[in-house]
């Protein structure tokens, strides 16, 4: 069996999810005796490819073209499907990142492949992969088996391990599929980067504020706490709808799904829609004055009290500790 893992890079830098995908694919390859091939698409990749070896990549297909500097749904899909065919891959892994979620379905259609999307666990047993994926806003989980000949799995970022090992740099094969202008019928022409703090989907720590912050002006407390930790700022739907915070900070349904190492929920009661987006965080801290707030049902550590009193104290205490 052959496995193809898609390692996402942007601007000549691998995403953390790329390493998660490669390392997970490596595990499945080892368990199944399959051969793993890692696919990287972009422009000017030579310098970054050796790093993939640390996560278990032994063979890399590198597709380079100046037209591939930015993402193009149509061109990337064509390349990934062609690569899968030429390798003879029966199992494909993508990150469930914004790129992976856009790309994988198009590749699936090209290969008539069934897909388990946004997986949070994979198990290889009796020659088969069983994938676990959250459904119904995280209120249930499905164990699924893909039954088509070619199978695709997308992995939720930040859930699978990416621990650098001591692997050798991979063997790199330049792969040059024929690309014509019509393959770029949809293409990215530019990226507008949000300035400042990290994005909630990529941050290791998120400090999130809810209605309990009582007004846009009080989010300076959230920002200060976030900045001490180098964290992203998140927000509940209520405060985004109220116009206190921008939509790209919204965590939960109709916002973003996050799995940071630490999620600090400040003045957030924990409506189902919010929990849907953050309950897979590794550690959750809740600060809320209502001891019956549902957020305390999912939190590891809770402080039942006034955010206006506790947040500045917490910021100061963290500052002291981190200065040591």
């Amino acid at each position: 069996m052959k496995i193809l893992a898609f390692a996402e890079q942007r601007e000549g830098k691998f995403k953390k999810s790329a390493f998660e995908v490669v390392q997970t694919a490596r595990k499945i390859a080892d368990q199944s005796g399959a051969q793993l091939v890692t696919l990287v698409i972009g422009d000017g990749l030579d310098g970054i490819l050796p790093e993939l070896g640390l996560y278990g990549a032994e063979k890399v297909l590198a597709v380079e073209d100046t037209r591939l500097h930015f993402y193009s749904t149509t061109a990337y899909a064509k390349i990934a499907a062609d690569a899968a065919r030429s390798v003879g891959a029966e199992v494909l892994f993508f990150p469930a990142s914004q790129m992976g979620k856009d790309l994988a379905p198009r590749v699936a259609a090209k290969l008539s492949a069934g897909m388990a999307a946004d997986c949070v666990a994979l198990k290889f047993e009796n020659g088969e992969i069983t994938a676990t994926r959250p459904v119904y806003s995280g209120k249930a989980q499905l164990d699924v088996k893909v039954t088509s000949q070619v199978k695709i799995y997308t992995l939720r970022p930040n859930v699978f391990t990416a621990a650098a090992g001591t692997g050798k740099p991979p063997a790199v094969e330049k792969y040059q599929p024929q690309l014509v202008e019509s393959d770029f019928s949809s293409k990215v022409t530019g990226v507008k980067v949000s300035e400042g703090r990290p994005d909630v989907t990529e941050a290791g720590i998120i400090v999130s504020g809810g209605r309990g912050m009582k007004g846009a002006e009080h989010f300076s407390l959230v920002e200060k706490l976030a900045d001490v930790l180098g964290a992203a700022v998140g927000a509940s739907r209520a405060v985004v709808d109220a116009g206190w915070r921008p939509h790209d900070e919204q965590v939960g349904q109709t916002g973003k799904t996050v799995s940071p190492n630490l999620y600090i929920a400040c003045g957030i009661s924990g409506a189902v829609q919010h929990l849907a987006g953050m309950s897979s965080s590794k550690y959750i801290v809740a600060i809320n004055k209502d001891k019956d707030a549902p957020i305390f049902q999912v939190s590891d550590y809770g402080v039942v009290g006034d955010v206006f009193e506790i947040m500045p104290a917490l910021t100061e205490e963290l500052k002291k500790m981190l200065e040591k």
Binding site: A108, Y136, S186, P198, T254, Q297
Partner: protein
């Protein structure tokens, strides 16, 4: 311009999820269903495209008779025509997308809009699958959309920013929150929607590509430790985060 919004009818977010007796699906008794929240953005996008470019809007949904309620809401918001692809079977994404694509081929729209995801199975696959089966471009998680003279310029949400995407008609768009503010159905719209016909068609069937082994409640989390009730507790909280959780 011919615009089709593809919509779904899903359990309300507030619904308590109970695993059904088959151990593979949700027990639907007593579950309240609603128009998938993201699909409101897809419907609004279709309505705005019509207002700017003239043309005709249609809403299409694949599922049981109950999906008519979602279609009625689309009509009440101002969509011109509704089609139900009547189907009682549970489908995986690939089969659903093939059936949808076959119907859309007959309609040959200039623009097809979806919500970014359905809040039930949340695979975010259907828009891309359908576009690929139709051989046309797709853009997912769209938060800004401009269509002029057949040229499409939109912005899609990515980690830490937005991508500006250029493409052309016909196109499949999946709408993320922020693209627009869905309108409320007017009373007149609601009344009119009741008399508009909903055309029923039989979608094609396709072999499955996914088998559900089991559905279960996620591993329950024990409610955590309450560290304290005032500012004096932050010392202990920081210690726990540092020494026990080791996250800072």
């Amino acid at each position: 311009m011919k615009i089709v919004a593809c919509i779904n009818f899903v359990p309300d977010t507030e619904t308590k999820v109970k695993v059904g007796s088959d151990g593979k699906t949700v027990d639907k008794t007593g579950v309240n269903f609603i128009l998938n929240p993201y699909d409101e953005f897809a419907i609004e996008a279709a309505l705005q495209l019509k207002e700017k470019n003239t043309g005709e809007t249609m809403a299409i949904s694949l599922g049981t008779d109950s999906h008519k309620e979602a279609l009625r809401k689309a009509l009440a918001m101002g969509i011109d025509k509704a089609v139900l692809l009547k189907d009682e079977t549970a489908r995986d994404s690939l089969s659903l997308a093939r059936a949808l694509a076959d119907e859309l081929k007959k309609i040959s729209p200039d623009c097809i809009t979806f919500g970014k995801q359905s809040i039930d199975y949340t695979g975010e696959q259907i828009p891309g699958l359908v576009a690929e089966f139709l051989g046309i471009p797709s853009v997912s998680a769209v938060v800004a959309l401009n269509i002029q003279d057949g040229k499409v310029v939109c912005e899609r949400e990515i980690e830490g920013g937005r991508e500006v995407v250029e493409t052309s008609l016909p196109v499949v768009i999946s709408a993320q929150k922020g693209l627009n503010e869905p309108r409320y159905p007017t009373l007149k719209g609601i009344m009119a929607s009741k008399s508009k016909p909903i055309e029923e068609r039989v979608p094609g069937s396709f072999p499955p590509s996914l088998e559900v082994v089991a559905m279960q409640k996620p591993p329950g989390k024990q409610p955590g430790k309450i560290v304290g009730t005032d500012a004096t507790s932050v010392k202990e909280l920081v210690r726990l985060l540092h020494e026990e959780a080791k996250v800072i």
